[in-house]
């Protein structure tokens, strides 16, 4: 297959330079699920779930998104399996799904975080302090704008390069750097704001 048909989710928005088909596949679409799909899922599912959970700050939403994406990927595996980096590609599907998600998003996960933080806050022992500090950071990350949070997770959890992040988010590297720098600025400002709930 020399060409990825732009007729389904996000393929049309693949940026120039995204690795596309270089290998020939003989899998008939709609036939049996190819073995390398199973292998891909086995190897990457845990990582994808963790990535999606870090993105959404909601493990159930993350599960829904990953399941949804992988089921769609299975139907189209002949195409996806043919790209050079299927993981990067599927990760992009997950990211887009998160960025376009409209349902189930409410303040509840953030407020739930704060409840547990309130309980952690009075602790005085060092490990607890460190935990509270980390959880405070979790809460601040959870309220960042989605694209900023996605860029942050890709850089600091997936250790992606700016170029990879740009491909996944479908923007330029300059925009990636701008997302990250704004996110870091917000996190630093909130850190020093006395009215912050945890401080």
């Amino acid at each position: 297959m020399a060409h990825v048909t732009p007729d389904w989710f996000n393929v049309a928005r693949l940026p120039k330079g995204f690795p596309t088909a270089t290998r020939n596949r003989q899998q008939a679409e709609g036939g049996d699920v190819p073995a390398d799909y199973d292998q891909f899922v086995t190897e990457r599912l845990d990582r994808l779930l963790r990535y999606a959970t870090a993105l959404t700050c909601d493990k159930h939403l993350a599960q829904d998104i990953v399941q949804d994406v992988l089921l769609r990927a299975r139907q189209k595996w002949a195409r996806i399996g043919a790209v050079d980096a299927p993981y990067l590609y599927v990760k992009r599907m997950v990211t887009n799904e998160y960025l376009s998600w409209r349902r189930r998003r409410a303040a509840r996960d953030v407020s739930a975080t704060h409840v547990s933080l309130d309980e952690l806050a009075p602790a005085v022992a060092d490990p607890a302090d460190r935990h509270a500090e980390r959880d405070a950071m979790r809460a601040r990350i959870a309220v960042l704008p989605r694209k900023q949070r996605a860029a942050l997770v890709l850089r600091y959890y997936e250790d992606s390069t700016d170029a990879e992040i740009a491909k996944i988010l479908g923007c330029t590297e300059g925009t990636v750097r701008s997302h990250i720098s704004r996110a870091l600025h917000t996190l630093r400002v909130n850190e020093n704001t006395p009215s912050e709930v945890l401080r």
Binding site: L71, P127, R188
Partner: protein, 355 residues
């Protein structure tokens, strides 16, 4: 805060968020339908987490017992008490549910209820047992949310098992860190060195004393284990026993004071429960079981486990009966992994080395 320090904190925070991810085996089962034969192990894993919760819930009263003043005169006659132990992940999600009954003689019988068990929730219909907690937390919200969650879950467990629950205890798993540190480390033994970047575990083989952070990583590791979740359960069972041994066998008053303090901050109970009174009757004798389970079923988008309420009630009645011993037929058991040298089904001891 320096840039480097902030970045380190961001990495930690995002990794902690990612650690909240659901068990990939359950998702694999959803994706593969009935093809997965590993699903029951995921259920065992949920029960395994509860073992840690149970450890703390049993240890707290034990420690209180050691440090409390003498019982007041005219103390009420001890009666059997049924307690629901709820292990949460710190973000309002229930990871583990144990129904425990402490008899007149202080012996404890604990039945694990898989969080994926499908029950009929009032006003909701069929849903996973654990969702009773989260739904109530969402409905009520705020500082009262956790209590509402615990009470809703208590109601669901009562109607499933037919057992009346006297008290509930909620444990945040993160509290284990402080607790393991408070006892000065928990001694375990590993058969081979383990290193797993996902859980952060990095330990040599042989006997090792786990500090709090190591303990949490040790209890959480699932990837890279020969028997996956099954190994993790065995770890948690051994950790429970080792932690209990450390607390009861210590005899160091300063350390006990630290343990009580750590336990108090990790555990929430319903109001009006006199923990010291309860603690005075406890003995370390604990009998464990899992309720009878049926087939895998789909609940909405998720995978659950069917339970037959009649079978569960019959099991609970027999298991919690006064003076009962052993495990009634029908309950699930957690076997040790069958290894080269051991018989399957043997109960673990705290001196065992684990995978």
């Amino acid at each position: 805060m320096t840039d480097t320090r902030q970045e380190a904190l961001i990495r930690e925070a995002i990794a902690a968020e990612a650690d909240q991810a659901v068990d990939h085996r359950s998702v694999l089962a959803n994706l593969h339908g009935k093809r997965s034969r590993r699903r029951p192990i995921a259920l065992f894993a949920a029960a395994g987490l509860t073992a840690a919760a149970a450890a703390v819930a049993v240890i707290v009263p034990l420690s209180v017992d050691r440090t409390a003043s003498a019982p007041p005169a005219g103390q009420v006659t001890p009666t059997a008490r049924t307690v629901l132990l709820i292990g949460t992940d710190g973000a309002g999600n229930t990871d583990s549910i144990v129904l425990a009954r402490v008899g007149d003689d202080g012996t404890t019988s604990a039945a694990w209820l898989p969080r994926d068990a499908v029950v009929d929730l009032p006003g909701v219909g069929p849903a996973r047992l654990s969702s009773a907690y989260g739904r109530a937390v969402q409905r009520v919200g705020g500082p009262e949310g956790d209590r509402a969650g615990a009470e809703a879950l208590t109601g669901a467990v009562e109607s499933l098992t037919g057992v009346e629950v006297d008290h509930h205890v909620t444990l945040d798993m993160a509290g284990l860190v402080t607790l393991a540190d408070a006892v000065g480390g928990v001694d375990v033994c590993l058969r081979r060195p383990v290193r797993d970047p996902l859980s952060g575990v990095d330990l040599p083989n042989g006997p090792v004393s786990l500090n709090g952070a190591q303990a949490l990583a040790f209890l959480r590791q699932r990837n890279g284990l020969r028997n996956g979740d099954l190994d993790r359960i065995v770890r948690q069972q051994l950790f429970l026993r080792a932690l209990g041994a450390k607390v009861v066998g210590g005899g160091d008053p300063a350390r006990l004071a630290r343990v009580v303090e750590a336990a108090r901050s990790a555990v929430r109970t319903d109001p009006g429960w006199d923990l010291p009174e309860f603690a005075r009757r406890l003995t370390p004798a604990v009998r464990t079981a899992i309720i009878p389970l049926g087939e895998e079923v789909a609940v909405g988008l998720e995978q659950g486990r069917a339970v037959d309420p009649a079978a569960v009630r019959a099991f609970a009645a027999e298991f919690f009966a006064e003076g009962a011993t052993g495990t009634p037929t029908g309950g699930h058991s957690i076997p040790l992994p069958a290894t080269e040298t051991e018989e399957p089904g043997r109960q673990p001891s705290e001196r065992d080395c684990v995978n």
